[in-house]
Symmetry: C2
Subunit: 335 residues, 2 copies
């Protein structure tokens, strides 16, 4: 059988079953691995960007690509409530890459390292016969009792996100379709090319016991929420009228006759946080978050005890079925 | 200008100059990065294996490839005097990879993890349009005062290696040329496909102050010694009659009319240790090593104060010039 018949999560599960992690280590199945050291812990994560799968070279500047290579890993550390500290960068480069392109890529890496105070400690530079391949492994740190996991959601928790959803994937669609640019579509494109990540959000939320489960939104609300639900052995209902949609996404979709929810639920690469909060702590945490960041925690649903991993969607109380839950861009999810 | 005009070391130097590592961290320019934590330190290294560059899929079993993906990283930790502890594995897999091949690859990874007591903590599994790409980042540990670096060789030190050189690259040549197998060539091929690494060697040598500089032999004695010399700002002489050549390499070369020294000096993938030892500690360390491991430390040359990075080769005292110092297999060094 060819491996494309497996999904990414199935492949990870296959490996996970063969590499049982001895406690107190936390291994596969969350955004980061956790290596405890007394009251503190190291967080370790690794993420790759492959040409033709995660990016199309002609559609992203080398500076943005370099920045994003770091950003997708920073997002994983932040989603566990940690601070990113160190990175190593592995690159496979075809020999015909222009040295100017390479230098601008490194400039983008440096810009992310400077912004987030990360030391790039090393790497590996090898040739490639075909495509560009980048991989970053990032090491972060957190207090053991502030780390948030995927498997700690509880029935009755509210489901929240830390910002607008869908802009990034709509921006990618705008790039691929080469649509006539507007001030709105440009904002979506910008979110795709240069994602905004705020490590303070994760750190602040990590410090609150009322926050139960947390994950970063890299593959879309639908898929990432299912990861929390499967880990936590529960289900959820989502109220579609509560999904935060930016004016940029709304207007872009209006002009293109696109459905904004397609991007918000199934698009991916939002790099916002998806979390569950104990109901009796919600108001306090929402108010505190607003005060700390002048930014909203959007409530989008409720965790329940319905069958494991199942999300039921409602619009103003009426159940909704989606046709396109399998939405994919490029072949990101093809294995 | 195309990037293939740079060498790998030039590219690393370019990046290194732009990412100055604040002490006490040790960043780029050694086998591992060093993150001090009191008297202890974390060692971090990353190494990639790319199809068509580092391996040809039809010439190596998936089990051996999985094992080797870990082994090349273990070798870097060992070369700093550390113990490997944790690994994360990133894979880019074309969708048409057979699931049986993949399962056997994972079995090879597991076999290395079991043998060296390494916890595989996580990874990233993504699609690839073309070639297979594997990257491992490994985290090890060492006592701060036992770590060995590249930049600590001193004029007068003797240059030693921990085992036979050249078997692996001759084994690769035998595979590529599809030569008629003999018991000798099979031993070389086995060393290429399933390198022998002894972490105790590095740990033992790290504990000896008389050992000054150390590196693992991944790109051949000539290239890896030059890395020590450039870092340590000195030169070396190598006596060719002292290079340890196995019977397997000697006999294979005899039959194929190959020059064993071509493989021993320029071949790469030996994964032995190359080190420099204070002359007045040599005998004690050699005897101790023999007693501990029933294995030899082979003296092959002397560090001197000749121009930076320069190796002079002698055979029984007579200077020798090589024609093929640029020996490459595949395109490993093409960028």
């Amino acid at each position: 059988m060819e491996i494309k018949n497996y999904g990414e999560d199935q492949l990870i599960e296959y490996i996970q079953q063969r590499f049982l992690t001895p406690p107190p280590l936390v291994g596969m199945g969350d955004d980061c691995a956790v290596i405890p050291n007394g009251n503190q812990a190291l967080l370790v994560t690794t993420d790759s960007l492959v040409e033709g799968i995660h990016f199309i070279k002609s559609l992203i500047s080398p500076e943005n690509l370099g920045y994003k290579t770091l950003a997708v890993n920073i997002s994983d550390i932040v989603a566990m409530g940690g601070i990113p500290n160190y990175a190593v960068l592995a690159m496979a480069l075809p020999g015909n890459i222009d040295s100017d392109w390479f230098e601008r890529f490194i400039q983008g890496v440096k810009s992310a390292c400077n912004q987030f105070n990360i030391a790039l400690l090393g790497g590996d530079t090898v040739g490639s016969k075909g495509d560009l391949f980048f991989n970053v492994t990032m090491i972060g740190s957190a207090a053991m009792d502030k780390i948030k996991y995927r498997n700690t959601a509880k029935p009755g928790d509210v489901v929240c996100v830390t910002g607008f959803l869908g802009d990034s994937s709509a921006g990618l669609q705008a790039l691929i379709d080469n649509i006539e640019p507007s001030s709105f579509s440009i904002k979506c494109i910008q979110q795709h090319l240069h994602p905004q990540i705020d490590p303070q959000h994760g750190l602040w939320l990590g410090a609150h016991e009322g926050v139960h489960a947390m994950i970063d939104l890299s593959d879309g609300l639908d898929k990432d929420l299912k990861r929390i639900l499967l880990s936590s052995k529960c289900g959820a209902t989502i109220e579609l009228s509560q999904i935060p949609i930016s004016a940029a996404l709304k207007e872009t979709c209006l002009h293109q006759h696109w459905d904004p929810l397609k991007f918000a639920l199934f698009g991916g690469e939002d790099y916002r946080l998806l979390l569950t909060i104990s109901q009796n702590k919600l108001l306090q945490i929402q108010n505190g978050f607003r005060k700390a960041f002048d930014s909203e925690l959007y409530v989008v649903g409720i965790i329940n005890d319905s069958p494991m991993g199942h999300i039921r969607y409602f619009r103003e109380g009426n159940p909704i079925q989606f046709e396109y839950s399998g939405y994919k861009h490029f072949d990101r999810e093809s294995i």
